[in-house]
Every structure is written in structure tokens, then in C-alpha cells.
Symmetry: C2
DNA sequence: TATAATGACTACCATTTGGTAGACAATAAT
DNA sequence: ATTATTGTCTACCAAATGGTAGTCATTATA
């Protein structure tokens, strides 16, 4: 069966409706990695999802490992951009800690795959992910930690909060809730997943109750 | 290179130091599944870890899927036994809710692979795991929910706690902290994992602060 | 217009995967 | 003592995997 090879569409860097091939690969890879895990996802399945052949995929990302890094990088890049904006004292209307958490929640809820991917990375490559978080974000979390300590001295926050540990716990709770909260709700429901909104509402309540001092 | 096949040890059901072959397989499978994931673990690697050949492994567990189910079953079985004991009003000395959470934490801290495996299952097979939790544990969590509501009426617990959602969140926090807390602590440390004990201490603080009413 | 670079393809390939077939030794049952 | 069962092994196998080689059309560059 000789090929024929009649037309061979070629995609330039210009966006023609669905984005660059490279972007589409990253999108499908994020989805499949987060849904089935890195090891559980074949390059073939990604190529199929994008609608190209495997070697075309490998042309854009020379190895599976390379693709993984780029997928992860896109998440990191987002936060390296966003964090300065969020933590800049632009509006002092609401608590900066809570607004940061809100941004965090929104980011992960907007696309659940992000949370799932992060959790998988933390499980699959703990040391590597530890190092990445440390390098990319520890300055920012130190800032938040200081902010938290100030709030403690001013009496806004509880004195028994352990700032650094609290920050870690909040992240664990947020990505945990988004990534596995739905399925975990099988504990209390026989019908279907508890709406994520409700879970997050309770999460926010827990965080606030364990953070703020009681003002009588 | 002809085999030789000089001795062929055979293991009976009797324990000869390291447990039955079947038990050793389950142990290594739990470890490898939780560390590398189901898809990331080959039957060969499990057989190597146990010190047998692959077909011997398949003799005991006819398929990889079958092995997975048995590994999971051993965790479920433990809690089906333990929960009645814990929730029985034996000692009313300490809060039953907190003592249950303590048992939960101890179980997962005792062997970190347990928490990692549960998280992986929740990610890899959300619907299936939802159903399993629902079938096996929802009666028990309903009991805890009622207990929580009683405590609310007596004024012990905060009125704004949403019992069912709170229970789900506590489980998410506990297994989240044990499974990914260490690596997540890269956010605030450049050196090494934050000791799990500290993370858990803050976790317990958060839970208690968000559960108990302030008694002035 | 000729030439180089890009991006897609077909056809492979070595390795690993989950799993099977069948031989064989040790133990248990008759 | 003979037979059946159990558990382990060696030797395979088809399918899938990550990746390579090389072809060819389109686009950009000279």
C-alpha cells in the first residue's frame, strides 16, 4: 500500500485557530500526564490526541522527559509572573494572605489538571520537586512568612500559628482538595462527587478559623 | 548455558522468617506501586525485589490488575477491622473525633507508602476509588458526622463546621500531608524536608482550631 | 530563481511489557 | 508406594514503547 502523501499541511508559528502545534502538544500532554500519569501516558497517545504522528511530536520535543519538563515549566512560569503581581501591595482592601490563597485556588480550579500534575510530580519525583519549589518559590514564601509574623504581632493572626508550616499546609490542602477532594468525598456520599465549590468553601473556613484571632 | 536447576527451594504457607511468598509480594508491591506508581512498576521489578522469577509471581497473582486489587484490599481490610474498635465508646476520656484522627495519622505515618498509594489510586481511578470509599466507609463517616453534629449542639464544636465536608477535608489533609508534605516543604526550606512531626503538629493545630468553639 | 531550513511523514528498531506453556522438584494425599 | 497438588523455574511470545533514519513538501532566505 503505497502512501500517496497528497497534501501535507504545515503549521507555522502563526496561530490558526487552535494554537501552534507545540502549544497543542503541551496542552494535551498536561491533560494526559495529569489524568494517567507520566508512565501511564505513551507518546503515541499524545500524538493521537493532537492529531499528528509520533515522530512529528518528537521533532518538537526530542524526548518524553523533555516534554515533561516543558509541561512543568509552563506551570512554574505562570507563577513566577503572577506572584509579584499578587503580593505587591496594590490593594490593601483585603487580607493579602487570603487573596493569595484565593488566586492559588482559582488557578488550580480553573484547570484541575494542574493540581493533579503537581501532586503526581510530588509523588513521582519528591526530591526533584522539592528542589524546584525551593529554587523558584522559597523567596516568595519567605515574604509571606514575614507578612504572617507581622500580622501575629499586630494581633490579627493567632499567636500559635507556625508561619512556614502553615504556608506548606495551605498548599497541601489546596492542591489536595482540587486534585483528590472529589473522589475522597465518596467517604460521605453514595451518589456523586461533592461539588468542588462546597469543599473549597469548607477549606477556606478551616484556613480562616485556624489563622485569625477571635475578636470579641 | 544449561540450567542445572540444582536445588529448588519451595516455600510452604508456614512463616520461615520473612513471611509467606505471597505476603512478601504484597509488601514489595505496596512499596513499589506507592513509590513509582502502578504503571511505573513492572512485574519484573516486583519479582526482583522479592527474589523470585516473574512467572512465579504470576502464579500467586494471575495478573497485575489482580495484584493491585489485593494490595488495596489489605489496606481496606485493616480499617474495616479498626474502625469499629476506635469508634466504640470505650474510653470517653478524650474527644472521639480527635482520637480517630490520631489513629488515622498513626496508620499512615507508620508506613508512608500507604498514604502515597491511596493518593495515587484517587488520581488514577477516581470513580472506582470513590465507589470503594463509599461502599466500605460511608456508614462509619455518617456516624462520625452525627457525633460531630451532637457536639455542635452541645456547644463543644463550632456551629459553622460543615460536618461531612469537614470529615472529607480532614482525610485530604492527613493523607496529603503524609504523602506530599515533605516534598512540598521545599516551598519554605532550602536544605531538606521539614520533619514530618512538625508538619503534623501544625496540621493538628489547624484541625482543632477550626473545630472547637472558643471557650472564654 | 535557487537554496536552505522547517516540519511533517513512512518505515524501522531494540527493548521492555504483561502474560503463557510446559518441565520439574518437593510435598501432601491415597 | 503411587499419585496429585503445589510452587518454582526456563523458554517463549505478541504487543507496545521510546526513539532513529531518512524522505519529501512547504516556506523562508539568498
Amino acid at each position: 500500500m503505497q502512501a500517496g502523501r497528497e497534501f501535507l499541511m504545515k503549521e507555522t508559528d502563526l496561530d490558526n485557530g487552535h494554537g501552534t502545534v507545540k502549544e497543542r502538544i503541551l496542552k494535551e500532554a498536561l491533560y494526559l500526564f495529569s489524568e494517567r500519569g507520566f508512565e501511564g501516558t505513551s507518546l503515541q497517545s499524545i500524538a493521537d490526541a493532537v492529531g499528528i504522528q509520533k515522530p512529528s511530536l518528537i521533532y518538537h520535543f526530542p524526548s518524553k522527559e523533555d516534554l515533561r519538563r516543558h509541561v512543568l515549566e509552563s506551570l512554574v512560569a505562570y507563577w513566577k509572573n503572577e506572584l509579584p503581581r499578587i503580593l505587591t501591595p496594590a490593594d490593601s482592601s483585603s487580607d493579602r494572605l487570603v487573596s493569595t490563597m484565593t488566586s492559588l485556588i482559582n488557578f488550580f480550579v480553573e484547570d484541575l489538571n494542574r493540581a493533579r500534575l503537581v501532586v503526581r510530580e510530588l509523588l513521582d519525583r519528591p526530591e526533584e520537586t522539592f528542589a524546584l519549589l525551593s529554587e523558584q518559590f522559597s523567596p516568595w514564601t519567605r515574604l509571606i512568612g514575614d507578612y504572617l509574623r507581622m500580622g501575629q504581632q499586630s494581633g490579627l493572626y493567632r499567636k500559635d500559628v507556625a508561619p512556614e508550616l502553615f504556608i506548606v499546609q495551605v498548599l497541601v490542602m489546596v492542591i489536595g482538595t482540587v486534585a483528590i477532594g472529589g473522589a475522597t468525598s465518596g467517604l460521605v456520599s453514595t451518589e456523586s462527587y461533592t461539588p468542588r465549590g462546597l469543599l473549597i468553601k469548607e477549606l477556606v473556613r478551616i484556613v480562616q478559623a485556624s489563622l485569625y484571632s477571635e475578636q470579641p
